[in-house]
Symmetry: C2
Subunit: 368 residues, 2 copies
């Protein structure tokens, strides 16, 4: 397994230790043809993923819930989510994609109409262009604010959750507004509603998230347990992925354009941005030839690792050549920028076509 | 105006003073052909009812919101609500009847399916038998749990309400469950949603309630004001009615069968129950002939006042004959029991037919 240890500021190992998240690699050998994000340790942690492994082996029903919160533009880091969904879809999962317009309203003041438009023009369009086929029957996408089943379930589940509990998990206080307090419970219902009888009943469910989302997962698992008798919920599983580093070395963030390659960038813009990225190069060419580069601290290497190189052996070769000083940053950047440009040339043309299809997705998906 | 001062334990005059509810009688002379519950002071208080009076005069759009909470059986006291709705419907109002299944779940643990069944078999059936025609286009009845517009509006409005505020109004605390905390906000949305553009936009709205519901009214009025710019809400009006006294002199309550005449009682049962009711009679016939009876402390008199005698002058005559000792309780009871029986003979046969119609009401009303 390639060690992808990136330049992120998140101490993933500490997270695993502290919150009882289990390492993903323990289960890797049990998975047939694992996703490259699994193989490369980008998906680093899990809770109860054994249930999903079993469902995969036995070809049993299972569900994946992966929400999108329409706020700002999607960047290349978000592609990782879609890549995971595609893998699960190929492996027989029912896919549920809530559009978190309720959370977007309470957390960021975006109204439902604006969320819907952004979801269509940006998120759904990109998902389609990245290969997701919303016409498939096992893929459900919905606006939280239009899904009465999810809203009802959230309300029903809320009866066994107290204000004190929400306060302990999320730091709510007396002046917290009531919509903000309710938003996590809508998410809990997003995750559990595929197990309702109307949608085929209890089944293993996995939620692929970043470690920052773990409080939601723990709350959901607790609540699932409290309603075990009533709904026969299988306590949901989760996986945890690392975040791609931003171009400047910190977090890649849509709200800080200098850190991000956006999926709406042109191939030329994307190419240019790769060339500006922070690398793991040394002070001088001489030093780098002697000591080699440091891929564990290189945004370019992460781009290759997360997105641009399919073959593990090809990737390993690049890493070795970097470490032993055979390839310098300039050359590597040029090659990587070229790969990124190639990706964007194909992607951009698919994106243009996808927009029209995206506009129909929510209309046909809405039912209550 | 006949003074209906009943034997209730509620000090209605104090309520009017303490909470800033205005006396209803101030507006009575401005209303054409007022409802007998208005004329007789059973509707004793109001907030901003001038808006409704104006809408009535100018024949402008206005709405009435009157919820039903499906819990237990309807008794004769509940008939008063339907009588008011019928009057408003005749006077051109849009009628909205939320079925509070969400509140029934969080407050009493009744699940949505049970609420729906009870709403149909008991409440809607009685409403129809009492004269309400749900086939009319200006009458909307809905289950809260199936109305996405109401749920969405509740969530949107919740953003400008804090936990501290809910705590101050309802006495919520840290161990209050989250569904219970949300229920009043659903009610706020019940009351305000007729003013959404999809339903004709801002309009005066009146909510006829008992004084115990005033906290909801005040919360709704405050929230309407906070969202004035966004939705151009007209701050809703309210009226307050007295409660009919139970057969034993205390509260009439569905959960205490000895206190109540149920709408599902047979004519004979109802007749018999009237004969058992507490009256305002004296210790002895002799004393009563000398001092007269006390209609202000008589359940029988209330039955006549609220339900059984249409003509104010006929009612006044009975009151006078009681007060001056001309009519004794036995005779009055027999006559009243006969009137009650007559009402139930007609009502029961309508009720049997109404059930079939009731079963279709929610199916055709449900849309989201």
């Amino acid at each position: 397994m390639i060690d992808p240890w990136g330049s992120s500021n998140v101490d993933y190992e500490k997270i695993v230790e502290q919150f009882g998240i289990k390492p993903f690699k323990e289960l890797l050998s049990d998975i047939n043809d694992p996703h490259w994000l699994m193989r490369r340790g980008i998906i680093f942690g899990q809770r109860d993923y054994g249930r999903i492994v079993e469902a995969l082996h036995k070809k049993q029903d299972f569900a994946v819930v992966s929400g999108m919160m329409p706020s700002g533009k999607m960047h290349i880091g978000h592609k990782m989510i879609v890549d995971q969904i595609l893998w699960y879809e190929k492996n027989g999962a029912d896919i549920y994609i809530p559009i978190a317009d309720m959370e977007s309203y309470s957390a960021r003041g975006v109204d439902f109409e604006a969320s819907k438009e952004l979801a269509i023009k940006e998120y759904i369009t990109n998902y389609i262009a990245l290969g997701l086929d919303f016409k498939k029957k096992n893929i459900q996408v919905y606006l939280q604010s239009k899904n009465i089943m999810v809203n009802d379930l959230a309300y029903i589940l809320s009866k066994k959750v107290t204000f004190n509990e929400m306060k302990a998990i999320y730091g709510f206080h007396g002046s917290t507004n009531m919509a903000h307090m309710q938003a996590p419970l809508i998410q809990v219902a997003d995750i559990l509603h595929p197990q309702m009888d109307e949608l085929g009943g209890p089944k293993p469910t996995v939620v692929p998230v970043g470690p920052d989302q773990d409080p939601h997962i723990r709350l959901t698992r607790d609540i699932a347990d409290r309603f075990k008798n009533q709904y026969r919920f299988v306590v949901p599983s989760s996986t945890y992925h690392r975040f791609i580093t931003g171009l400047t070395g910190g977090k890649m963030s849509s709200s800080q354009p200098k850190t991000a390659i956006f999926l709406s960038d042109t191939p030329e813009e994307a190419e240019k941005k790769v060339k500006t990225a922070k690398t793991g190069g040394r002070e001088s060419l001489k030093e780098q030839k002697e000591k080699g580069g440091d891929p564990s601290n290189c945004v370019i290497y992460e781009m290759l690792l997360y997105h641009l190189i399919e073959s593990d052996s090809a990737l390993e070769e690049i890493m070795e050549n970097c470490k032993n000083g055979t390839i310098m940053c300039g050359e590597c950047k040029t090659q990587s920028a070229e790969l990124m440009k190639e990706f964007f040339v194909k992607f951009s043309s698919r994106r243009d076509k996808a927009l029209k299809e995206a506009e129909k997705v929510l209309d046909s998906a809405q039912s209550c």
